[in-house]
């Protein structure tokens, strides 16, 4: 807004009475609830989570093969999303697949963001030799291709089967990107005078990192974390495809898409439900991230609709 710069800070003061009485948390919730795409996405995501975790309790078929199920049925009747060649109910598979995918994606995102932010903020705050050393470690994790490393680890430990082991492996090789982003932001933040002000009051390094640096880096951190959800889903799908991820009879969305890739035109019901669900999960999480970022930034006055 050019007029802000040109005409100084002649901000109207009366109109803000209402914000004064609310607590910080209430303000954030209110701001978030005004962000329409984020609210819609939140509702959608909640529905998807319910579908994945509560759905199986109410549906007669789970994801495994039953000989009662005829193969290659198109959607309709007893099997609303059809059946697979081997004799799985696609709806049952979809619920289980979404569940496993969500578990992996969220664990990876939370774990990497937590470790990466701390690592990056610490490196950025101390700078100098500490920074150089910590960032070389980051570089090592960045240059090793995820799938090769995952193959090596999973192959040796045989951890391929459980979702938590897979999440851990993906997280080990994805926190480094977040560390790099956070470190860059912190490098410029720590030169700001408010950080010096805290130091002049005797604040310790953890105090400054947790109370000043990380909150101010929240925007980039949230964006990186939401992107990571998509990355994790793709990585898991890739690993499953290579036979390193979640293995049959257990199932994930990535695996469903992988095994249906030859059937896109002949049996589309095998491909589109997991595909659409995967895109939906990624999109909703991105919008929620946008909403969160704006809600957490007190300077953001314009409400997007």
């Amino acid at each position: 807004m050019s007029e802000n710069g040109m005409f100084g800070s002649t901000r109207p003061k009366k109109a803000r009475k209402d914000t004064a009485d609310r607590t910080q948390l209430q303000t954030i919730v209110l701001r978030f609830s005004r962000h329409r795409p984020a609210m819609i996405s939140l509702v959608l995501l909640v529905l998807i989570v319910l579908f994945a975790f509560v759905g199986p309790l109410f549906w007669i078929w789970d994801h495994t093969v039953y000989k009662e199920i005829p193969s290659n049925l198109p959607p309709g009747g007893d099997h609303p999303l059809g059946t697979s060649a081997a004799g799985n109910d696609v709806l049952g598979q979809l619920m289980r697949g979404a569940q496993q995918t969500l578990k992996v994606a969220f664990s990876v995102s939370l774990l990497s963001t937590f470790v990466g932010s701390l690592w990056g903020a610490t490196a950025g705050y101390y700078g100098g030799r500490v920074d150089a050393l910590m960032m070389r470690v980051v570089d090592i994790f960045l240059i090793v291709p995820l799938l090769v490393a995952a193959a090596a680890i999973a192959g040796n430990t045989g951890a391929g089967a459980s979702w938590s082991a897979i999440a851990l492996i993906i997280a080990i090789f994805s926190w480094a990107t977040i560390a790099r982003v956070v470190r860059g932001v912190v490098l410029s933040l720590r030169e700001q005078e408010f950080v010096e002000a805290a130091r002049a009051s005797g604040a310790s390094a953890p105090w400054i990192i947790f109370r000043h640096l990380l909150p101010n880096a929240a925007g980039p951190i949230i964006v990186a974390a939401t992107l990571l959800v998509a990355v994790a889903i793709l990585a898991e799908a890739g690993m499953s495809f290579l036979g390193l991820g979640i293995q049959l009879p257990d199932i994930s969305l990535g695996q469903m898409i992988g095994s249906a890739r030859t059937a896109v035109s002949t049996r589309p019901w095998l491909f589109y439900p997991p595909g659409v669900l995967l895109v939906l999960i990624c999109l909703t999480i991105n919008f929620i991230g946008d909403g969160l970022r704006d809600a957490l930034d007190p300077r953001q006055t314009r409400v997007r609709r």
Partner: protein, 745 residues
């Protein structure tokens, strides 16, 4: 100049009655989401050949927009009405192609920021020649020769080498002179300079203003000088227009406006300005309230809501800009006497003989947050209460209770001896070897006594801010000793330093960067208390007191920093620093980023707090006028060393070091007659790099005494022997082998 040029001038003089620029009823409106924004309203002025007109006003008054409109440089969506004629030719509404012929040729502009107004990928010579070639059909050689000539005129040393250099190889002052050279390349009739020296240090400002005057003499151009600095205006222009809320509210010959202002706003501005020629006991008088939002201008006079003289008429009818006559009458401005003293005030007659202090209140409350005298009084009583409570709390803590009331000699609180700080310069490669060092601070000694204000003055890059941080142990000393109340501070670990941080606090220059944008103001102010282990409830309660103490509304604690203006944020910074009951405040340029009318309130606040709470200030500043107003003692720094220390009285009455003298004489006085008649000591060049300071006396490369007065043998001493800071009697110390007192004010 050439005879051809002289002929042109005479031809113009004959036909146009000497008027080179005539602006009539110029209005600029910007469309915006919330309706039209009238940035400039009915501005009219006339400029004769060779005349200099100053336009002053605070940020947002529309002074820059006016000149941008004349130059046709506003964005397309701006609606410009009225007329602007250069040499009789209407230039508003010209097509891009047509106005290009006028720009540069007849009317040239100089911008504020010399960093961005030159193209970094072309040489200086190319850029000046380009300006010549744009309007004259001459060969490249001729254009280059002209470029060389121009660089000489604006006083750039060894111009033939400079021609081949790129902008980044030149200092800020040098670049601004190149911009002036470009502006005068085609002998324009009008030069518009928009804050040409705001980004520069005072000694460099003096050089650039000098170059600007030379450019005017050479080209005979008329000058429109836009600035917020009343001192610069006083010395440089013949007539002055004061802008407020998009209008010219007063105009006239510069002496008239400065000595006999006829509009309360102009009077208020002058009263809120700390003056180099003023007295310390004079209180500054800030103007209440803030400039009106342009979107929502009040009915009647735009200044009425802030004006202590305002009556019903002022709120109903906007006063016209009318001629002020002898005896206080007002008359319509005739076409012929547009040069007279005009003012837009219904009651301008009543201002005869009125001083700023008669009309405005010398208060320390947040003048931006209040609108009336009654509110000021209410806020003042709140401040007084808050001070009582603050003092009670300070007494409750036995550690900080001042016990030395009985002794005559005030106790030395903070003492520094031979502070040295060198920052290593490291190579870019993997090894990051040390390839040199920046000698930011090289042997600074000072004592800060109880209840006194010691000012540390110098230009940018002299190491004053580094010194301030060294004193607080925020950066590690390279060598030297530092004690607080006899206890050594150097080498203390962060943990052992923490209890002492309660006593030593810091206030920053930048009111925008110094407050965490993600924290509510109450949390910001309460943070130091929480760091030192205060409970949440205690902190909350005290935050309210602290907000009252600095003159802010205590109910505003839950707001965020961006909801406050610059002056208010600076008050928040002070409140945060006071939250731990400190005894020493280090103030790093606390008012440099503020407009004058707001600056006055913050200065008053700092003075009051010191008187009432018994604080000691280390006041770091580049602004000698402010320092003169607030400090008890002054230390002048140059390139990492203190060159002179004295009481404020001594220093300004009888400066001994040539650098101090140059600094004092470079500060423009807001007093036209004094400013034009005072003795000037102008230094040449820029501050050398602290990575490679000159041997011996560090000031010798710019010293007028070294260059002009000393013999060869005496100079050798300056080159070989660094002068020590020696006492010349009565605590007045300076570091010059040949110091000599000069009277400058």
């Amino acid at each position: 100049m050439t005879t051809e040029y002289m002929n042109e001038e005479h031809a113009a003089a004959a036909t146009d009655d000497d008027v080179v620029l005539e602006v009539t009823d110029l209005s600029v409106t910007f469309p915006s989401d919330d309706g039209p924004l009238p940035a400039v309203r009915e501005v009219s002025y006339r400029l004769r050949r060779g005349e200099a007109l100053g336009i002053v006003g605070e940020s947002g008054s529309g002074k820059s927009v006016t000149s941008m409109a004349i130059m046709g440089l506003l964005p397309r969506n701006a609606r410009v009405e009225g007329s602007a004629k250069v040499l009789g030719q209407e230039i508003l509404g010209l097509s891009d192609k047509e106005i290009s012929k006028v720009r540069g040729q007849k009317i040239a502009m100089i911008f504020q920021d010399p960093l961005t107004s030159l193209n970094p990928v072309y040489t200086i010579g190319y850029q000046i020649a380009e300006a010549v070639l744009a309007h004259k059909k001459v060969s490249k050689q001729v254009a280059m020769a002209r470029a060389l000539e121009l660089l000489e005129i604006v006083g750039i040393p060894s111009p033939d080498q400079r021609l081949k250099q790129y902008p980044h190889e030149l200092s800020g002052g040098m670049r601004q002179r190149v911009v002036i050279a470009i502006a005068m390349a085609n002998d324009p009739d009008v030069i518009i300079a928009d804050e040409p020296t705001t980004a520069l240090d005072v000694t460099v400002q003096a050089q650039v203003l000098d170059a600007l005057q030379r450019a005017r003499r050479e080209t005979g151009a008329a000058l429109v000088l836009i600035t917020h600095d009343l001192g610069v205006v006083a010395g440089q222009v013949d007539r002055v227009g004061v802008m407020y809320a998009g209008r010219i509210v007063e105009s006239g010959p510069v002496e008239e406006v400065f000595y006999r202002p006829r509009m309360p706003y102009a009077l208020g501005l002058l009263g809120s300005l700390p003056r180099l020629d003023g007295d310390r006991s004079d209180r500054l008088t800030p103007i209440l309230g803030t400039p009106p939002s342009l979107r929502d201008l009040p009915e009647g006079c735009g200044f009425a809501p802030r004006c202590p003289m305002a009556r019903d008429l002022c709120h109903q009818e906007e006063p016209q800009l009318l001629l002020t006559l002898e005896g206080g009458d007002r008359g319509p401005a005739e076409a012929g006497d547009a040069d007279g003293h005009t003012a837009a005030c219904h009651f301008s007659g009543e201002l005869t003989g009125v001083e700023a202090s008669d009309l405005f209140q010398a208060t320390s409350v947040d003048t931006e947050g209040v609108g009336s005298v009654a509110e000021v009084e209410a806020a003042e009583s709140l401040i007084a209460e808050a001070r009582e409570e603050y003092l009670e709390e300070a007494r409750a803590e036995p550690e900080t209770a001042p016990e030395t009331a009985g002794s005559t000699e005030p106790e030395v609180l903070l003492s520094a001896t031979d502070l040295v700080k060198h920052f290593p310069i490291r190579s870019q490669g993997l090894l990051r070897r040390k390839v040199g060092e920046v000698q930011a601070v090289s042997g600074v000694s000072l004592d800060l006594r109880e209840r006194e204000t010691l000012a540390l003055v110098g230009e940018s890059g002299c190491g004053k801010s580094t010194t301030a941080r060294l004193l607080l142990n925020l950066i590690r000393l390279t060598s030297g000793e530092l004690t607080y109340m006899g206890r050594p501070l150097h080498g203390l670990s962060d943990r052992r330093m923490r209890p002492l941080r309660k006593d030593l606090q810091l206030v920053f220059q930048d009111p925008f960067a110094s407050l965490d944008p993600r924290m509510a103001v109450a949390d910001i102010i309460g943070e130091p208390m929480r760091i030192h282990g205060s409970g949440h409830r205690d902190a909350r309660k005290r935050v309210k007191e602290l907000l009252e103490l600095v003159g802010l509304n205590p109910e505003h604690g839950s707001r965020y920093p961006h909801e406050f203006s610059g002056g208010q944020r600076q008050r928040i910074g002070v409140a945060r620093a006071l939250s731990l009951n400190p005894r020493v405040l280090v103030l790093d340029e606390p008012v440099s980023a503020l407009d004058v009318s707001i600056q006055a309130g913050v200065i008053n606040l700092l003075e009051d707090l010191q008187d009432e709470l018994g604080l000691s200030y280390l006041f770091v500043s580049h602004d000698l006028s402010v320092v003169k107003h607030i400090a008890d003692r002054v230390s002048v720094m140059y390139l990492g060393k203190i060159v002179e220390t004295a009481t404020t009285e001594q220093l300004f009455r009888a400066p001994a070091h040539p650098y101090t003298q140059a600094l004092i004489s470079a500060i423009p006085l807001p007093d036209p007659i004094k400013e034009r008649t005072r003795e000037r000591i102008i230094v040449t060049g820029d501050i050398p790099s602290p990575a490679n300071p000159p041997s011996g006396c560090r000031f010798r490369t710019r010293c007028p005494k070294f260059a002009g007065e000393l013999s060869e043998a005496e100079r050798t001493k300056c080159v070989e022997e660094p002068p020590e800071l020696l006492d010349r009697g009565a605590g007045h110390r300076d570091a010059c082998h040949y110091s000599q007192v000069v009277e400058l004010i």
